[in-house]
């Protein structure tokens, strides 16, 4: 008993010493449960967004983070992005050692002003103020404070204080201050507690708090927002962008504003109008007309990123694209729309969040979440979507880049949130036929012909169009998990179709394709399409998981055996079914030929966490079935 007391006292004494010295960032005060597994701990994080006038807001950020080891190094650096519509008014920083004593303060000269332009972009207004400390005596703490004034109120901040899986959090607050009488639109994600709302004489405050968050591991295939941790997205009801007023209560409001911003920028020079009309002259089918116009755009323009103009939301006039032959996604969509209008086909600009595995917009929270523009052409029965920055794909194909997600149509009546096409397994095929000749010593040659369609054709299409033959060959070598093989020849051929379609033909040599032991040969009939990469296992999966696209793989292998070789043992047909799809494999003898058939269907979707183990098991069984061998004898 006595001993315990002494220890207790000592601990008290340590704590009081730290607090008496006024050193709040001493490392000793971090609770052990927070530093466990963390590379940095956010000690305090205060983020305030204050709307001053309909056209001006300030954002004040103050935080202190203790960096425990080298992996947390990036927190010693601060980057504050800004643009033509915003101004960074002050940056302060202090470095504390493990005891919480000040080591250094940021000087004016330590703050760099850098361009935040991406390398693919021709020109953008985006810049970044960058500052930080070079220090590596772990653990240590950095504290930063800065203020940004924004001269546009179209975008309110999103607050996710713990997006990093190696960051623990002691205490964080987020405040939005609005002039009295106004109210905030917000959406809470990942179990952030509800805000406290306080009405003062001149303003209303919304206040969120988050305390004592341990590190949380990311899980593979989790939906985008899940891995961001608890947080909130906010948006205005009314806003201003470069002296233009808009509303954002509904998608219709936001869409109307953006429609008006881009309206009337579709005049084309007369010769081009005539060219467009000539192009479709005599054509009655509207789809063919669209294809011709789209083909013309693909032939005569190229994508160049130029992020300028009204906060990056207004397109260049169509006439500029006509003159220069290039434009960004807005300019090219608008230009294509202008050409279609010329030939009497109405269309609408549509905003999306583009990217293969990115977040979709939050459909129940109208706000400016988009990063890309495409064109939507409504027809009598269905709709044609045009990705105007891609020079290769067939008209109407949006694929994994913008397919299967929400899009905001900009129409004279306002915005309409609709869905872009999603693709079924039959759309995304890998259809393979292998003719293999096996000699008595186990060497083989094979001709492999594969037709790829839809999303499964995307990677190969890009290799076909952009890589040199050397790189194509190299790429092919990476694609197959065959232990030893040499590609003797290969070719790619594009097929005209409504979906991207590529036929790949390869001739390969497979030395010791079947391995001999004594007078037996072991032969795996699925040499080419074997899928052996398994998903990571978790002891306890907590988040839902997403299979992004559906697909269908089918293989037929005709293996011609050398004279004298016979099958001693094949295998029983395999049939695996699960909620994620279906797998079949079988082998049979046809004269001197072994015929192997395999078919795999995967269904895209968002699946519950408790089904993850089932998914791993499904893939594991497929991997095993793909390795099944038959026994040959002579």
């Amino acid at each position: 008993m006595k001993n315990k007391q002494v220890i207790g006292l000592a601990a008290c004494w340590l704590i009081s010493l730290a607090s008496r010295a006024g050193e709040p960032f001493s490392v000793v005060t971090i609770p052990a449960e927070l530093s466990a597994g963390a590379s940095a701990v956010m000690r305090i994080h205060e983020h305030t967004f204050k709307v001053k006038t309909p056209s001006e807001a300030t954002e004040t950020v103050h935080y202190a983070v203790t960096i425990l080891n080298q992996e947390g190094k990036s927190y010693a650096k601060l980057e504050v992005p800004y643009s033509k519509l915003s101004k960074v008014s002050s940056i302060e920083g202090t470095l504390f050692n493990a005891e919480g004593k000040t080591v250094r303060r940021l000087k004016r000269g330590d703050i760099q002003d850098l361009s935040a332009i991406s390398d693919v972009s021709l020109f953008e207004d985006n810049r970044v103020k960058s500052a930080g400390f070079t220090y590596a005596d772990y653990p240590f703490t950095v504290e930063f404070r800065y203020e940004v004034t924004t001269y546009s109120t179209m975008t309110y901040p999103a607050w996710f204080p713990q997006t990093d899986e190696k960051l623990a959090l002691e205490s964080a607050t987020f405040q939005v201050l609005l002039p009295a009488g106004q109210s905030l639109r917000y959406k809470i994600l990942n179990r952030l507690p509800a805000p406290e709302v306080v009405d003062g004489p001149t303003e209303r405050a919304y206040r969120w708090q988050l305390k004592r968050q341990k590190v949380a591991d990311y899980e593979a295939y989790a939906p985008y927002y899940t891995n961001l941790g608890p947080g909130v997205v906010t948006a205005p009801k009314e806003f201003e962008l470069e002296a233009r007023k808009g509303q954002m209560n509904t998608w219709q409001d936001l869409g109307r504003f953006l429609y008006q911003l881009n309206d009337g920028r579709d005049q084309l020079p007369e010769p081009l109008r005539r060219q467009a009309l000539e192009l479709v002259a005599g054509e009655t089918d509207v789809r063919t007309k669209i294809q011709k116009i789209y083909g013309f755009v693909q032939q005569h323009t190229r994508y160049v990123s130029i992020q300028l103009g009204i906060g990056g939301w207004q397109t260049f006039p169509a006439s500029v694209v006509a003159e220069k032959g290039y434009g960004d996604c807005k300019a090219l969509s608008n230009y294509t729309g202008a050409l279609l209008k010329t030939v009497g086909i109405p269309s609408s600009l549509a905003l999306v969040v583009a990217g293969r595995n990115t977040a979709d917009v939050l459909p129940d929270f109208p706000s400016s979440q988009f990063n890309h523009m495409i064109l939507c052409v409504p027809l009598a029965k269905d709709t044609v979507w045009l990705e105007c920055t891609n020079p290769y794909v067939p008209a109407g194909y949006v694929g994994s880049f913008t397919g299967n997600r929400h899009a905001l149509l900009l129409t004279p009546e306002g915005g309409k949130l609709v869905r872009t096409p999603s693709y079924r397994p039959e759309d995304n095929q890998q259809n393979r036929s292998v003719r293999l000749r096996l000699d008595a010593s186990g060497n083989a040659t094979a001709d492999v012909r594969t037709t790829y369609t839809g999303i499964q054709a995307e990677a190969i299409e890009s290799v076909m169009y952009t890589a040199s033959p050397d790189d194509q060959r190299q790429w092919l070598y990476e694609q197959f998990r065959i232990p030893n093989f040499t590609i003797s020849s290969f070719s790619f051929q594009e097929q005209k179709h409504t979906l991207p379609t590529v036929i790949e033909q390869i001739a390969i040599q497979l030395p010791t394709c079947a391995t001999r032991t004594g007078n037996r040969l072991f032969f795996v009939p699925n040499q080419v399409s074997s899928d052996q990469i398994l998903p990571i296992q978790y002891d306890q999966r907590t988040s839902a998981f997403r299979l992004p696209s559906s697909y269908l793989d089918s293989d037929t292998v005709f293996c011609q055996l050398a004279p004298g070789l016979g099958v001693e043992h094949g295998f029983e047909p395999v049939l695996l079914t699960s909620r994620f799809g279906r797998y079949q494999a079988s082998v049979q003898m046809e004269g001197n030929t072994v015929k192997y058939i395999r078919r795999l269907v995967i269904e895209a979707g968002l699946y519950a966490p408790e089904t993850y183990a089932e998914y791993v098991d499904f893939r594991r069984k497929i991997a095993k079935a793909d390795r099944m061998q038959i026994l040959l004898k002579n």
Binding site: Q70, A136, N484, T512, T517, A623
Partner: protein, 654 residues
């Protein structure tokens, strides 16, 4: 690979005759050869997405009253665009620097146009307008001019010119003849005025089509050109493609300028460079300012009387006290004391500090400068400081050089990280400088021991011990520094997803002196397939030899594996009751020519015990293109051997 010419103004008269007959290629802006417009495919490389038709650079050192000496670079480029994938090449970026008002660069006279042959046979010409030219401030000092050419289509020829003037006359820009697309003609002209003497260095495998120089008045004029250059592409197992690129660069040797008294020498011989470095406040002098390490030195000295242990203690001290900021340099950034206070610094900060610490301890230690693999091959013939990007520490003891790099974690003292193993380094010393070999003295070693029981229902059950040492252990330790032990174990487990681990421990993760061991118990439920009364299994439960790392049948450049490899796996199986070995893969021993690589595979059966061992050893890491075929075939055979099967047969069913 290298050749040298001294650009000496006084030596050129004799060359006059030679050069008078060289043919000259002058191009007028806007006059495009009709054949280049009709070209649909580049005959020499039918796959090329674009071809540099001509790339002509003209550089002169000039002088005027307001600016003093400055360099003027003129560039005139024509590129044929053959495929859509090359459209990005019509956006041109020109980086330039503004340090101070009297030390700056400027880009001016940008002109550009796109020439496209139309279906009716006419040629459409689109000019580059001012509104498509942007200037971007990338950092405080680095600026970028960026412009994009209009209306580029498949088949277009784009053309542009610009002039860049620069106050940095002491550092002339280099000229790359070769690019990642084929180049039909690349020409570089250099006009020097009296007073500037440069060393001119060539690199690459391509011959010069034009090589001339002539003088007129006080000027000297050079012209070099190469033609029909193939595209240079990066390959696997290649340190840097820049090692093979055809290019020319310039190193200032001497200036003899009117306002200076007598000629002023820039680096000359290696000895001069040594001296220059030793009096440099960011190099030699910095090593002398290590008073702040005195106490540490005294403490470390007391720990052991053994010199090697003292060296190790100093090496470990710096490794522990400092963290490397991943920057490679031979000069310290803000001095050693400041780096020590910040606990971080570049290579020079860490390793010069190590030299200083060793000296404070009374040991003879020296800095050794080198060029890392990524920085390219060093030429000993031409003393150039700018070719070095790294410095390490050296202690000679017991007749042996101990090379120390405090930036390379996880390796024992005396073993250098892979990026340092690039030819030779230069020991910088006032009286006894010398070249030091940077060959690997350690290997990438991994051994696996498998004690497994085969059950009747085709399951493997037992213990696995993987022991890594040398570079293999260092690599794992590096990973362990970046991810948690838990993640490391997870990653190890996911290498063989079929294995069910009952236990998995990692031993000696922190020590660089003991091998790193990963061991545990596994159950592999599907390793053995049963067909009727026989069981079949692969000889070793490893995935290392599942695929040949050398895929292409041919190779143009050397293969650099970094360091030599040694891999030894031994499996000992207990057969299930009632089974005996029917077939095992035959023993083999293979060797590469010159015994630089050896592989052996041996099996042995004793009662119910089956033993299989596989051993692969290399004695070198770099293989020439002529050795490539043998190396690939060597791997083919190793992989084929590991794919063979062991057959077990039930004994009671004869």
């Amino acid at each position: 690979m290298f050749s040298l010419r001294l650009a000496n103004y006084w030596l050129t008269l004799s060359c006059l005759l030679l050069s008078a007959c060289g043919f000259s290629q002058q191009l007028t802006f806007g006059q495009i050869d009709y054949n280049d417009l009709t070209m649909r495919m580049y005959p020499a490389d039918s796959s090329a997405e674009a071809v540099v038709l001509s790339d002509i650079g003209k550089t002169a050192i000039l002088q005027n009253d307001s600016r003093g000496y400055y360099a003027e670079y003129q560039r005139h480029v024509r590129i044929k665009i053959l495929k859509k994938s090359a459209f990005e090449r019509s956006t041109i970026t020109v980086p330039f620097y503004r340090l101070r008002s009297d030390l700056r660069e400027e880009v001016r006279d940008i002109q550009g146009s796109t020439h496209t042959l139309l279906a009716d046979g006419s040629v459409k010409v689109d000019q580059l307008n001012k509104d498509a030219i942007f200037e971007e401030r990338r950092t405080e000092k680095l600026y970028i001019k960026r412009f994009t050419l209009p209306n580029v289509r498949e088949g277009s020829v784009i053309e542009f010119t610009y002039t860049l003037t620069s106050d940095f006359v002491f550092e002339l820009r280099e000229w790359d003849f070769q690019r990642d697309i084929p180049v039909r003609w690349s020409q570089y002209e250099l006009n020097l005025i009296a007073g500037f003497e440069y060393r001119i260095l060539f690199q690459g495998f391509e011959p010069l089509a034009v090589d001339e120089n002539q003088s007129s008045g006080t000027m000297i004029h050079y012209r070099w050109a190469m033609k029909n250059l193939v595209a240079l592409r990066e390959e696997d197992f290649m340190a840097t493609p820049d090692n093979y690129r055809a290019k020319v660069w310039f190193e200032l040797v001497r200036t003899t300028l009117p306002h200076e008294i007598g000629p002023r020498n820039y680096a000359k011989k290696w000895d001069d460079l040594d001296k220059l470095l030793l009096v440099d406040s960011q190099f030699g002098l910095a090593i002398n300012r290590t008073g702040f390490l005195k106490e540490t030195a005294a403490t470390l000295r007391k720990q052991s009387a053994d010199t090697l242990q003292q060296v190790t203690a100093a090496y470990q001290f710096i490794q522990k006290a400092m963290s490397w900021n991943k920057r490679r340099a031979i000069y310290t950034e803000d001095g050693l004391k400041k780096a020590f206070e910040a606990k971080t610094g570049n290579t020079a900060d860490l390793n010069l500090m190590l030299v200083g610490l060793l000296r404070e301890m009374g040991l003879e230690a020296f800095p050794v400068i080198l060029s890392t693999k990524q920085n390219g091959t060093l030429s000993k013939e031409y003393p150039l400081l700018s070719r070095f990007d790294y410095v390490i520490a050296l202690v000679n003891w017991g007749g042996k050089d101990w090379l120390l790099d405090a930036c390379g974690p996880g390796l024992r003292a005396g073993v250098l990280p892979v990026h340092c193993l690039n030819g030779e380094g230069r020991l910088v010393h006032i009286r006894h400088p010398r070249w030091v070999s940077l060959s690997p003295i350690e290997k990438r070693r991994e051994s696996g021991q498998f004690l497994l029981k085969i059950t009747k229902d085709g399951q493997l059950d037992g213990s696995i011990t993987v022991t890594q040492s040398g570079y293999a252990a260092a690599d794992s330790r590096q990973v362990l520094k970046e991810i948690s032990l838990e993640k490391f174990r997870q990653a190890f487990k996911s290498q063989s997803p079929d294995w069910q681990w009952n236990e998995l421990v990692v031993l000696n993760a922190d020590s660089s002196y003991l091998p790193l061991t990963i061991k545990g118990h596994v159950t592999v439920s599907e390793a053995v397939s049963r067909i009727e009364n026989r069981l079949y299994l692969r000889p070793l439960p490893i995935s290392d030899y599942a695929k040949n790392p050398f895929k292409s049948p041919e190779r143009r450049f050397p293969v650099d594996m970094g360091v030599p490899i040694e891999k030894v796996y031994v499996a000992s199986y207990t057969l299930p009751e009632g089974y005996k070995v029917e077939e095992v893969p035959r023993n083999i021993a293979l060797a590469l020519p010159g015994n630089v690589g050896r592989f052996s595979f041996v099996t042995g059966v004793e009662g119910r015990n089956l033993q299989i061992s596989s051993r692969l050893v290399f004695s070198k890491a770099i293989f020439g293109p002529e050795e490539y075929g043998a190396l690939r075939e060597f791997y083919n055979q190793i992989i084929a051997k590991h794919a063979e099967q062991v057959v077990l047969k039930k004994t009671d069913e004869k």
